[in-house]
């Protein structure tokens, strides 16, 4: 065990003994996400570097503080990628923060979410123990799947020290189409296409325009272009479009859009086939219809009620009051299990308290 990890173990034990809250932090690019952070800063960037990467194993293992950009550049050298296209939200994003936030980008509906690619984690729990779960192999059912539990837990269960992720080859060919159509028509078409063997890898509808990205074998992309119709977007413009969507730098997401008094950005996760939601505000639809971004001044209750009725959930993604619940409230039996799990990993409640839910 390195000196640094031993220091961290000591610090966590001391914090647990004293009941001192610790705010685990990487590059700070996702500090806006979740409820307001609290506690003494616990910076993990000192624990950085790729531990193991062998392209033919389709696995990369990296320490939590490794910059996400550096990791993706390394994969790109071997024509591989993190297929869930995680948003960076800034140049300083780390892989630890990426896994803790659990966010996935445009390719998610086609390739899977971040949690689908997590193979193993090494964490520091609230007792100061270094624990390893999962591993570096594709298939592993020994013990409970704690690695995926850690993904998206916003640092409330432990300090992520190291992660192993499955990686995939970059597609041989890629092309983007732009089609003019209404919201209802876009949702219908996306679901129809989703049921056919088409190489769809991303979709985005807003303002009467549907953009779809096709990725795969040359022949498959070529024949899908003909079949779907619409206008082919030039490669540079297409790359810029999908990067802007992934990083939320386009006008729809821009800070200016949230400056209006009381406007918040909501992330609505619903069944892909749900008809237009007809909520007040502007929408951008991704993931074949399963993810709807809503810029709105509507009351949280109205938005939550509408998404819950569809079997989905709503997150107050940006803006609004970060001291209220930003994630969809859980039914009592699930909240009980959440509290017990939190206590199992972090009995003194020192890691990112209240970041996910109040009291967690």
């Amino acid at each position: 065990m390195s000196d640094l990890i031993e220091q961290w173990q000591e610090r966590v034990r001391a914090a647990s003994a004293a009941g001192t809250a610790l705010q685990i932090r990487g590059g700070g690019t996702k500090a806006f996400y979740g409820r307001a952070p609290a506690g003494e800063a616990f910076d993990v960037r000192g624990h950085a570097g790729v531990v193991n990467y062998e392209p033919t194993e389709l696995v990369v293992t990296a320490r939590a503080g490794t910059p996400l950009a550096e990791l993706e550049a390394l994969l790109d050298d071997s024509r591989q990628m993190l297929a869930f296209e995680p948003p960076h939200f800034g140049a300083t994003a780390t892989i630890g923060g990426c896994v803790a936030a659990g966010l996935s980008g445009p390719r998610r509906a086609a390739a899977g979410a971040l949690r689908d690619f997590v193979l193993g984690v090494k964490i520091l729990d609230g007792r100061g123990e270094v624990l390893t779960f999962g591993g570096q192999v594709m298939k592993n059912v020994a013990g409970y799947d704690v690695s995926r539990l850690i993904a998206g837990s916003l640092g409330t269960l432990g300090v992520i020290l190291e992660v192993s992720l499955k990686v995939l080859p970059r597609p041989v060919a890629e092309a983007t189409l732009s089609l003019a159509m209404s919201e209802g028509e876009a949702i219908a078409r996306l679901n129809e296409w989703g049921g056919q063997p088409l190489p769809l890898s991303a979709s985005a509808w807003s303002d009467g325009v549907l953009n779809v990205r096709l990725s795969g074998a040359e022949a498959a992309v070529r024949s899908a272009l003909v079949r779907l119709g619409g206008e082919v977007v030039a490669e540079d413009a297409a790359d810029a479009f999908w990067a802007g969507l992934r990083e939320q730098t386009t006008d729809f997401f821009g800070d200016a859009a949230l400056d209006e008094a009381g406007t918040s950005l909501w992330r609505l996760s619903v069944p892909s086939s749900a008809a237009p939601l007809k909520l007040d505000g502007q929408q951008l639809i991704e993931w074949g219809g399963a993810l709807r971004w809503l810029r709105s001044t509507a009351a949280a209750e109205a938005i939550r009620e509408r998404t819950a009725a569809l079997g989905g959930h709503a997150t107050l993604f940006r803006g609004g009051d970060r001291t209220t619940e930003v994630f969809h409230p859980l039914p009592a039996p699930l909240m009980t299990i959440h509290r017990r799990l939190k206590h199992a990993f972090d009995p003194a409640g020192v890691f990112n308290p209240g970041r996910l839910y109040e009291g967690l």
Binding site: T56, G143, S269, L356
Partner: protein
């Protein structure tokens, strides 16, 4: 906080359930279940005494066969109140003894939950009860050009509830994922009788990823009563490439070269010469018998995609020293290529009175080392072993051949298996890729995980099942078990693989 003074996590020590009163339990369950939903005479219990791992057998006290979720709730509440262990059971096809009954407990069969509740071809989802067979979902989806992707070899019989419990895989999971990648939502009941909805009708859910936690939890966290699965568009075409190699290591390298070329095949399987010989006399698949190993590499998609990928695969295999390459010319030939691989288990049963199937996963690059080590183990234990692999994802299924009627052979086969699993861990892999720990591999859990990690598993279990009544004694070894196992390993004169770096 002083953690040294912490009490052990619930379940961490062995619990004695021998005080369970069968008469009282039958009376209590008869009050909450309709007539015909309870079995307690020895001859009625016999069909439940084991699952697919028939070396372990145990009669339960009672078998309960509810048909409605309210009945499941009542059975669990009753067992919770009386402190009775509960083992949930689907079709009983599991290979690790996960559904082995508890001597003082109830087997809760979900066999009567056998309806597909809703299939939405537009949203590509199906809501099914846990007792629905894996293949039945694909059959129901077929008219819409859809199917349920995970295809464990037992798919004709195994149930989706059991698949959730084991996180089942299959031959196509490198490209299409395991059960955990193909679920949206699970509805279940805790031992306390609370109904929980885990996951969502959308692609994600708020809070901790409990869906991942419950998938592969071997019936130890909650009892599943409803499952929402994703359906996948059926590929238009599939084609299979069969390649022969005169050296097993070369075949292993060819697998890595296919991946390095940026190809993720729909299936990538390998068989060694003894396995090929065993199946050939059984199914006449036309395999080259002089090859030291054969690879089966499947491409699927549109006809254009498949043609492009098959050409790339062929080029890699030629450059990689394959001695013979055949590409299936039609569906009949493709099925024939696969027939041999799929018949590996029955073929082992034909050439040997008994066989023991292992399930370790290792990094692909260590395949050669593993095969050489298995050859040495064959000599050491005086038993033969034939090898089939899900080579694409490093999942090995060595089949150890033995005769249970020969004194000592079962014990030797178990030692042989334990040695393979421990080497899997030492090579950076895991003791189980897709069959689960159950009772079979519970000792080897002590090799793969440290004591604090195992304690964490018990704490996770207690978050769902504080009383420790769901499938106790499975999957996660108690303190005593690991202590005894450690003594046994050392007393045999060595610590396994002391010189191999652990990571």
């Amino acid at each position: 906080m002083n953690f040294d003074a912490e009490a052990p996590a619930p379940g961490e020590r062995d619990v004695d359930f021998s005080a369970v009163d069968k008469v009282r339990l039958v009376e209590a369950l008869a009050r909450v279940l309709p007539a015909g939903a309870l079995r307690y005479d020895a001859e009625d219990l016999r069909p439940y005494e084991c699952d697919g791992l028939s070396a372990y057998r145990q009669l339960p006290l009672i078998v309960a066969l509810p048909t409605r979720e309210e009945e499941v709730v009542e059975v669990l509440r009753t067992c919770h109140e009386l402190g009775v262990p509960v083992v949930a059971r689907g079709a009983g096809t599991g290979l690790s003894g996960g559904a082995l009954p508890h001597a003082h407990g109830v087997v809760l069969s979900l066999a009567r939950f056998n309806r597909i509740l809703h299939l939405d071809p537009h949203a590509r989802t199906a809501v099914v009860q846990p007792g629905v067979r894996n293949l039945a979902i694909s059959e129901a989806a077929a008219p819409h050009g859809l199917y349920y992707a995970p295809d464990p070899s037992s798919q004709i019989a195994c149930t989706i509830g059991g698949n959730v419990a084991e996180n089942s895989g299959g031959v196509h999971c490198l490209k299409y994922g395991l059960t955990v990648h193909n679920l949206l939502r699970v509805r279940g009941v805790t031992i306390e009788g609370e109904i929980v909805e885990i996951g969502n009708h959308g692609l994600d859910a708020p809070g901790y990823d409990l869906l991942a936690l419950i998938t592969g939890s071997e019936g130890m966290l909650a009892v599943v009563t409803e499952v929402t699965v994703k359906l996948t568009p059926k590929p238009q075409l599939a084609q299979c490439v069969l390649a022969a190699f005169d050296d097993v290591i070369r075949a292993g390298e060819a697998v890595a070269e296919i991946i390095a070329a940026g190809i993720i095949p729909a299936g990538l399987e390998m068989m060694d010469q003894p396995a090929t010989a065993a199946v050939e006399q059984f199914v006449h698949a036309g395999y080259p018998l002089d090859a030291k190993a054969i690879l089966l590499c499947e491409s699927d998609g549109t006809p254009e995609e498949v043609a492009e990928e098959v050409a790339r695969v062929r080029a890699v295999l030629e450059a990689g020293g394959a001695t013979e390459i055949r590409v299936s010319r039609d569906e009949a030939e493709r099925m024939r290529f696969w027939a041999g691989r799929k018949a590996a288990f029955p073929a082992a049963g034909r050439i040997s009175p008994d066989y023991y199937c292992m399930d370790g996963t290792i990094p692909r690059k260590r395949l050669g080392e593993m095969l050489e080590a298995i050859q040495a183990m064959e000599r050491k234990h005086g038993l033969r072993c034939i090898n089939v692999f899900h080579a694409g994802d490093g999942n090995l299924h060595p089949l150890i051949l033995f005769d249970a009627n020969e004194p000592g052979e079962l014990a030797r086969a178990e030692d042989f298996g334990a040695e393979i699993l421990e080497l899997s861990v030492a090579l950076g892999g895991t003791i189980t890729g897709e069959h689960g720990v159950g009772i079979e591999k519970i000792n080897q859990m002590c090799s793969q995980f440290s004591r604090p990690e195992i304690t964490t598993f018990f704490r996770v279990k207690a978050a769902f099942d504080p009383a420790g009544l769901l499938n106790p004694g499975k999957a996660i070894p108690t303190l005593n078990r690991c202590a005894e196992y450690g003594r046994e390993r050392v007393s045999k004169g060595h610590v396994p693989y002391p010189d191999i770096p652990r990571f």
